[in-house]
Symmetry: D2
Subunit: 364 residues, 4 copies
C-alpha cells in the first residue's frame, strides 16, 4: 500500500514533536514535510539532536520519517497536514492548505467553535475564516466518528476540553445531572508549550502548584458547546447553556492532565436519582467499544496515560451530598493533542482508529 | 528569661522533624526531650545525619536543641509537649501528659472533633478519651485565639482543614454564599507521612497526579464543624450542616497544599449579591491584623509558602456563573502542621503568635 | 508465523513491567505466562490497573499480551523466559527453566561474571550454579552478537555496566587510554527497584542528589571483566585489570542513567596521542552499523533516551589536561534492562535486533 | 545597636532574592536599597508577590526589609552593598560603590581571579578594573578569615568553586594526593539563574541529566588558583598548577550542588600513604571549629543543605585503587552564593560568622 504523505506544520512545537514520535510508528503515514519559521533551513536532527544522523536505520527512523528532513517555511504538497500553529496563524495556514487539496487536522483552536461570535468573544479577534466553520468537524471520534470520516478539515479538541467533555458527556447527555458544572483541572507543564517563560522556568515551576486563567480559560466555550451538542444528540436538549466554572491548575510534572468534575445528580423523568452503580453502568454503556476511553473502578493516575492515547474515567457518587464526581485523565500531548490528531487522521483515511497508536503507557 | 522546656513526641515523623527545625530558631522554647518508639536509644544525629555532631555550635544547634539528644520511648517531664503520633495512640499519650501537668499541642486528629459520635463515625473506633473533648481548644488562632490562650490541650488542625476553613470561613460566616461547598485540594507528598509505601515511592509518585479518599477524607467533618461554628459566631447559624464535597489530590512535590473552593454566591437579607470587590473587602476585613493570613490579588502559588507559616488566600467571583472561587494555599508541614503548632504554643505562653516563625518562604 | 511464547518471571518488578510494555509492540513474541510470588492468583490488571479490562482490544492489548492473564507462582511452559528475579533467586529459576528446555534471558547478575570466585567476592555467597557460567553469553550485542545468537542462556548486563562499557570499550580496546578509569554515574530512581524504602520515598528523594555504594558497587567487576575482554579481542590484552573507581549517584528523576567516564590519553605504539577528532572517528568506526549506539557531537541528555533502547555517547578530549572524557547515557529500564533483553531475545531467534524496539524516545 | 544599612544590587536575580530571605532574619543588617534595571520603579511586592503588602508586620517583614521598598536603578547610599550582577557589569558597579565609600560583597566572578590575564583568557574580555584585583579578598572564610575582616571588597566564590575547594583543599594542601584532579559536579537548576531559556524550561529540564561546559567551565581557574594558594599556605607549594578536569552537570532539582572529587593518594615524605581513617582525621583537623563545614561519616545528601549555609564533606579512600574520593555538597544559593556572602559580611563587620544564618536546612 502506498503511504499517505504527511506534513507537520510547526514541527518545533511540542505537539509537532509528539506527532513525529507517534507517526514514526505508524504503518500508513509518512512524514514528508516539516515546517517551522524559526528553524527553516535546518534539518530535524539539528533542532532535535536526539534524532541524530546515526539514528537513521531500516530506511528511515523506523519507517516514519527521515531525521535529515530539512525544515521549511511552508509545507510541501502532501496528502494530509497536521497544523500545530497558534490560533489565527493556524487559520491562515489551513485555508491555503485546503485550497490546494490537502486534508487538514488543525490542532489549534481556530475551528473548534462553531459560532464565529463566540470565537470573537474568547479570542478577541474576528474569525479569520468563518466560512470554514461549518465544514470543520470537531475531532472527537467518541462523538463525531462518522462526520470526521468524510471531513477535509478536522478541528482537534483542546486538551482540557477532551478530558472534561469525555468525563461529563455521558451524564449530561442522559440528563442525570444538572447543568451546574464545576471542572477543576490539573495539567503538567508541557501543556504550556515550548517557549520559555518565567512561569515555566524550572526553578519557578518545580515544587509549585497554582491556578490560572481564573477569569476564563479558552477551552471553556468548547466544553460548553460540546456538552450541549451531546445532550441534543441524545434527545435531551438543554434549555440553556450549562453553567460551568472551569479552573485549570499547573502541577510540577511534564505530561498528564486530570480533570475532577463535580455536578449534582438530579431526578430523571421517573423521579429516580442514579446510584453509583447505575452511573457506572451508564458510562460503561456510553463508551462501550471505545478503544481509548476506559471506565475504571478506582481513581485513575495520570501516570497510567503517560505516552498513550488512553483516557481513564472514574465516575463516582459522593453519597453524602448526592453529587456526581468524575475523574478523567489523559496525556495532554497524546489524547489531549497529537494522539487524538492521529486517531482523527486514521478516520479520515478509513483506517482503524487505533492504527499506529500503542495502548501502552510508559510506567514507571 | 528561663526557657520553656519542650518535648516532641514521635520526632521521627515529618511534623516532628519540622518542629525541630522551627523550634531551633525559637527564642523561648527549648527542646529537652524527643521520643520515637522505633528509634529509642539513638541520638538525633543517628536518625537525621544532617544534624551531625559537628553541627553543634554556639552551645547547641542555634539555641533550640542539642543534636546529640537521646531519643526515648516516653517523654521526659517538660512544660509543653507536641504530640505527633497517629490518632488513638495520640490520645493515650495526651492523657498521660496532661495527668502529670504537661501542656499539650496534639497534632493528631484525636481532639479536633467536638462530638465523640462523629469521631467514631469517621475513625471507626470509640473515642479514647471523650472527657477531654470539651477541654480541648481547636488550634486555629484566627478563630480561637482567646480560648487557646487559656487551654491546656490544643488540637492542632489538619492541613487540608486549615486551608479550607481559612479559605471559606469569611464567606460562610457572612452567609454571602450558600452551603453547597466543593473543595478540590492538591497536596505535596510530605502530607502522606514518612513511612514508605508504594504510592509514595518516588518512581510511582513522580510525574503523577491522582485523587484519593473519594469516599470521604477524615478532614471533612473538621471543616464542616468549624464552618458551622464560624457562622454561629457571627450570628448567622446554619440551619443544617453545609453540604461539602471534598476531594484531595496528590501532586508530585514535597511540600505545599492548595485548596480550590467553590460555592454559589447568594443574596443577603437585602437581596444583594456581593461583587468581586466586595468579597475581597469582606476577606480583608475578616483577616485584618492576622499575621499569617494574607489576602492577595492574584492566584497564589504554593511555592510562596515553602517553609513559612503563611497562608495566602485569593477570593474571586466567576462572574459568568455567579460563583465564588477561593484559592487558599499553605505549606502543609508549617501552617498545615508544625508552624501552626508553634503559633498555638506561643498563645499558650502569652508570646506574640509570630514568635520564632519567620515570615519568609524559600524561593526559588 | 507462529508467535514465540514468552514468560516474564517476576512481572511485578520494574524490568518485568517494562518488558510487558515493550513486548506489547513486538510482532513475534507473545507473553503467555507471568509470575510473581507476592501477586500469584491475581490478574495483571489487578496489580497494574492501567491495564484495565477495557484496554483489551484488537484481540488483546495490541497483540502482545492479555491484561487478564493470571499471575502464577511458576512460569508455564514457554519457548523463552525473561527472568527478573533478584540474584540467587534468579539462578534457581534459570536452572529449572533450562532443564525443561526453555531459553532464558536472565536480567539478574547471576550469570554476568565468568568467574565464580569473583561472584562470591562481590555477592557474598557461593555461586548457585557455577556449571552454567561457561554456557551463559554476556548479553551485550555490541560485543557478543554471534555468541548470543547460539546461546540458550543470556546474562543481561547491568544498567550501569552497559553505559560504562559502551562508553569506554572503544578507547580501552584500542589502548588509546591508560587503564586508570573513573566512572561517575548518575541514575534515576527506577533503578532502585519497585520496593518502597526510606531512600526512595518521594519526600526524601525529591530535590536530592547523593552518592552511594562507595565501598564498591556490584556492577564494577562486570565493567572490569568486559573491558579486559574487549581489549583482548582487539589483540591488545591488558597486563592487569583496569584500575576502576566507579561511583554511582541517585538523582531525582524516574528514568535515565548518565555515566561520565574519565581516563588519561596515552601514546600508541607510534608515540601518537589521539586528538579529539581522532577519538571521535575511533568511536564512530567502532560502532558503525550499530542500531542502538549513537556517537553524538554534543553532550547528550538522558531525556533523549526516555523509553527507547538508544545509547548516546559523546567522547571528547579535555585538551587542557590530555584527558578523555566520555559521556554515555541510556534509559536504565530499556537499554539498561528490558530493551536490551529484547534485543538479545531477537538475536536468539534470528530476528533483526531492532525488531519491536522503537527508535523514538518520549520528548518532552 | 544601629543597624548596618545594606543594598542588594540586582535583587531580581536568584542570589538577590536569597539575600532578601536571609537578611530578613539578620539582627544587624537592614536592607535599605534594592536595584534592578528591568524592574526599576516597582515595589518589591510587585515583582515578588509573596512579599505581599499584608506580610508587613512587626514594623517590617521581620526586621529585615520593607516589602514595599521601591526598586531603583542605582543603589542608594548605604554601608554595604551586595552586588548580584553578571560579570563585567558587576565590576562597573563595584568601582562606583567603592568610590563613594560603600563596602562591597561582589557575588560575580569579576574579582575572584587574582591574575587579569587569566580573567581575560576565561571571560574573553580585558578585566574592567584590574587595579582592584589586589585589594579584593577571596571570600572563603575557611581560608581568608583574617584578610576578609579588613577588606573593603570581597569576591564571593562561585558555587562549584566553593564545593570543590572545600572538598579538596585539606588533601591538596597536605600533599597527600597528587595534582591530577577530577571534579564531577551536579547542580540544581537555580544555579542557571532566573532568566528563562530552553534548557531551563521545565518540560526540557525535568527528568533529565546532562553535562555541560565540557570545553571548560569558568569556575575552573578559581579552583586551581585557590588549591595552589592553599598548598603554598601550608608550606607545600605545587611545582605547577594542578591538572584539573572539572565537568558540571545539571540535575532536575531546584537547589543543591554535589561535587564528587577524585585524586590518587600519594606517599608523603616518609613514604606513607594515608589510610581512610587518617584522611578523615586530616579533614577533621583542617576544619576543626569551622561553623559551616562538617566532615561526615557517610555520603551526604544535597537535601541536608537545603536552605542552610552548611557544607557537608565526606572524604573516603577507595582501597581497591588507592584513590581518594571526596563528596562535598552545599546549597548553591546559600553556601554557594548568598549565605556565604552574609558570612563574609559578618566578618567585615566583626560579627560572628554565623550571625543570622540558621544551621537548619529544610527537610524533607
Amino acid at each position: 500500500m502506498t503511504k499517505i504523505s504527511v506534513s507537520i506544520v510547526n514541527v518545533t512545537s511540542y505537539s509537532g514533536l509528539e506527532l513525529l514520535r507517534l507517526l514514526s510508528q505508524h504503518p500508513h503515514f509518512e512524514v514528508k514535510s516539516v515546517t517551522a519559521r524559526s528553524a527553516a533551513g535546518q534539518r530535524l536532527y539539528d533542532v532535535f539532536p536526539q534524532f541524530c544522523a546515526g539514528l537513521k536505520r531500516h530506511g528511515g527512523i523506523s519507517s516514519g520519517f527521515d531525521p535529515a528532513l530539512v525544515i521549511t517555511n511552508e509545507p510541501d504538497k502532501v496528502d494530509l497536514a497536521f497544523v500545530c500553529l497558534p490560533h489565527a496563524a493556524a487559520a491562515a495556514s489551513v485555508v491555503s492548505l485546503l485550497e490546494r487539496g490537502t486534508k487538514v487536522i488543525d490542532l489549534s483552536a481556530d475551528f473548534r467553535l462553531r459560532d464565529a461570535a463566540v470565537y470573537q468573544e474568547w479570542y478577541k479577534l474576528a474569525h479569520p475564516a468563518p466560512a470554514l466553520l461549518e465544514t470543520a468537524a470537531y475531532g472527537l471520534c467518541e462523538r463525531y466518528r462518522e462526520r470526521i470520516a468524510v471531513a477535509t478539515l478536522v478541528a482537534n479538541p483542546g486538551c482540557y476540553a477532551t478530558a472534561a467533555i469525555l468525563g461529563l458527556m455521558p451524564a449530561v447527555a442522559a440528563r442525570v445531572i444538572g447543568t451546574d458544572l464545576i471542572i477543576d483541572a490539573k495539567s503538567g507543564l508541557s501543556g504550556a508549550g515550548r517557549s520559555p517563560t518565567l512561569s515555566t522556568h524550572y526553578a519557578e515551576a518545580n515544587e509549585d502548584v497554582c491556578a490560572y486563567s481564573l477569569s476564563g480559560h479558552r477551552h471553556l466555550p468548547e466544553i460548553s458547546q460540546e456538552l450541549m451538542a451531546a445532550a441534543l444528540a441524545e434527545g435531551n436538549p438543554l434549555n440553556q447553556p450549562p453553567r460551568i466554572t472551569f479552573i485549570p491548575h499547573l502541577v510540577p510534572m511534564t505530561r498528564g492532565l486530570l480533570a475532577t468534575c463535580y455536578a449534582d445528580l438530579q431526578q430523571d423523568a421517573q423521579g429516580h436519582v442514579l446510584t453509583g452503580a447505575e452511573v457506572r453502568e451508564l458510562y460503561e454503556t456510553y463508551y462501550a467499544g471505545e478503544p481509548f476511553v476506559h471506565i475504571v473502578d478506582q481513581p485513575p493516575h495520570t501516570k497510567w496515560t503517560y505516552g498513550s492515547n488512553n483516557c481513564f474515567i472514574y465516575p463516582t457518587v459522593d453519597t453524602r451530598t448526592g453529587r456526581l464526581v468524575v475523574i478523567s485523565c489523559l496525556d495532554n500531548l497524546v489524547k489531549g493533542a497529537s494522539g487524538q490528531a492521529i486517531q482523527n487522521a486514521n478516520r479520515l483515511y478509513g483506517l482503524p482508529e487505533t492504527c499506529g497508536l500503542s495502548p501502552m503507557s510508559i510506567n514507571p
